[in-house]
Amino acid sequence: MNNQKQTNPSPSPIISFLQVRKSFGNNVVLKNVTLDIYPGEIIFIIGRSGSGKSVLLKHLVGLIRPDSGDIFFKAQNLSHLKENEFFPIRQKVGLIFQQPALFDSLTVYENVAFGLQRLQKRSGKELEDQINKVLATLAISDLKNRKPNTLSFGQQKRVAIARTIALNPEVLLFDEPTTGLDPVATTVVNGLIASLSRKMKTTSVVVSHDMHSAFTIADRIVILHEGEVLVGGTPAEIKQCSHPLVQEFIKEV
Amino acid sequence: MMWQPFFTFFSFAKDCIADIFRPPFRTNLLFKEMELITYQSLPIVTLCLSFAATVTILESSFHMKMVIGDDALVPGFAAVLILREIGAIVTALLIVARAGAAMTAEIALKLITEQIDALKMIGIRPYQFLVAPKIVASSLGVAMLSMLVSIVALVVCGVASHIYLDLSPGLFLAAFHRFANFNDLFVSGFKGFIFGFTIPLICCFFGFQCRGGAEHVGKMTTRGVVMSSIVIIILDFLLSALISHLF
């Protein structure tokens, strides 16, 4: 079930899913997910729509709790934590939503400041410097005082990323970052994910059904099918996999 | 420039009303809307009006005692108030909240999911298909509902008078007859008809104004409810003034 191969002797996993099961009513979304994620890698979780990819991601920040199974973040078991116990985790694990989810009533500057003020209790010059730095990294400094509804979708996505990386998390979770973007913007976002990962030395978990992007920037690809991990490995290994379903997924690339 | 929205609305209203008289007459849609507006709302409206009726009795008795120290005439006054005012207005406002808001939401959602465009492609006039049946159903429905529920409210008044004012049903009927008559019931129905006529016009208008996204659907639905409510109150004032002057 779990065909992970380590291409180099990596350290112990930073995130582990152990036989995680989650259902909503009669709909079993995750059947038995076991997956290790290693620090510093860019891993793509690919699957059809409705295969539970986003649900898996949300478990890592405590927006969803598993029905059974364990989830470990740096040896801490997340499955039974309470809401307020998740706050320190959310400082280290940042989720970037599929819809930008920016706060409509706040400016771009205030949006980016939100997490910094509440999770990290920063203020004054320190706060301002951090925000300006992050805005510059994503080349959106000129949008500082604009409101989200005046921005294009691509610009909103960048502000959403800025808001999350401002907290200097160790892990970045991307929920379908390139869905709905034109090919040019897709390339830009992929480049962003890759460079952020290298620059900030974060682990990036990207959920997507864009195989092309996966083959472009992923260190590892994992295919989720019917609530279970089908295969996992480097892009080269996936390409050579003989499983019919896998072949169907990579047909478009 | 300021009058622009009014012009848009009146041209919309004119188109919808014209479409009522244009064949094909979609009677099955009409009956569907009627069922929604009258049959499904009947329990709630009856219940609410019963509550309102009881409160009217209590308040009237309080004030009567203040003015003339005697509450024997309370049923009469209360009945008149219910028939001429409360019946129509409370029914109308409840229908706005239940059916009116639903109309706005329905049309707003159909607009942003391009179903309206799809209708036009098939050659169906959207106003005639969506709005006209609602207007006819609502006018007739609210009128009937008003009258029916007012009668029920009067019965409740009788019961309430018996419990709180120790008035036997016979005394109640006597007091009732002194002040009210069938004309007042028709007033209730007439007001209901006018209110029922305007509710779909206003609510659907705002539905068609929706320009996309969850936020806008919510905003337009809210606006539909608020505008309908205020227009009903203003219309009620005009009608009351008119009726009291004519009779």
């Binding site: 959310r90 706060f103 509440r118 | 009881t54 409840l94 808001a101 969850a214 659907v217 919510g218």
Partner: protein, 265 residues
């Protein structure tokens, strides 16, 4: 939260309703838990009160004016029977303060504020903003819900006073134009009809109505699901439910006040 109820196949309607009620009570308790540190939220709450009051002034003014006129017309017909037209001002004002004022404010607010709040919160929920708040280290109930809840209740009191005054103005105007009753005559008897008890009843009713409205609109808005369709559905739900609940609460408070009055007389 709602996923728990799907484990039963076809739970009965009554069970679902009770479950929702229970969930709503838990929600309310979570909100009220923040009452302890009101000072912290001062700025947010004042901002909400200001925003809601301003937002609703127009509609309250208009509806108050016209309902006042309607009451004047209706009561005048009955007072004419007793040739006691001079009492019109007092009677109409007393009726407004005790009954129609709170009811009217609540009705209008259920649209202007209730539906609006559900729309706002619902949109935030379906665009993941609520989840984003949690991910960035804040409690949505503390940040978003609590200020709005308190704001609605406080703003209602200001709007009640405003509504009563516009109502009196409306009645006065109608009396002057249609009934040849001068403003002075209209206003003269008002003190005679007012007592402390009526005013207390009025304030109590406004509190109960706005409490129910705040509770319903925030609960339904916060638990919206399903995109634009869900938001639309829930706005309709709030509009319909809040009106019915207000009418019911009106009845209950009237009964309660009646019993209390009987006790004291």
């Amino acid at each position: 939260m709602s996923t728990r109820f799907y484990n039963d196949d076809n739970p009965s309607k009554i069970l679902l309703m009770l479950a929702n009620l229970g969930s709503a009570v838990i929600f309310l308790l979570k909100i009220l838990a923040h009452l302890g540190n009101l000072k912290l939220h001062q700025e947010d709450i004042f901002h909400q009160i200001w925003k809601i009051t301003l937002h609703s002034l127009g509609i309250i003014a208009l509806s108050g004016f016209f309902v006042g006129s309607i009451m004047a017309i209706q009561f005048s017909l009955q007072l004419k029977e007793f040739a006691a037209l001079s009492l019109l001002g007092g009677l109409a004002t007393s009726g407004t303060i005790r009954e129609l004022g709170p009811l009217l404010i609540a009705f209008m607010l259920s649209g202007r504020v209730g539906a609006y709040t559900t729309s706002e919160l619902g949109t935030m929920k379906v665009t993941d903003q609520i989840d984003a708040i949690r991910c960035l280290g804040a409690d949505p109930i503390k940040e978003i819900i609590f200020p709005r809840f308190i704001g609605i209740i406080c703003a209602s009191f200001f709007l009640l006073i405003f509504g009563v005054f516009t109502s009196i103005f409306g009645g006065m105007t109608a009396a002057a134009l249609l009934l040849q009753l001068s403003p002075q005559e209209y206003l003269r008897e008002i003190p005679r009809f007012l007592n402390l008890y009526s005013i207390l009843l009025s304030l109590f009713k406004v509190f109960v109505f706005s409490f129910c409205l705040a509770w319903i609109s925030t609960y339904i808005g916060y638990h919206t699901e399903g995109g634009a369709l869900g938001v639309g559905k829930n706005v309709v739900k709030t509009a319909a439910l809040s009106l019915s609940v207000i009418v019911f609460a009106d009845w209950v408070t009237s009964l309660v006040s009646e019993s209390i009055q009987l006790l004291f007389s």
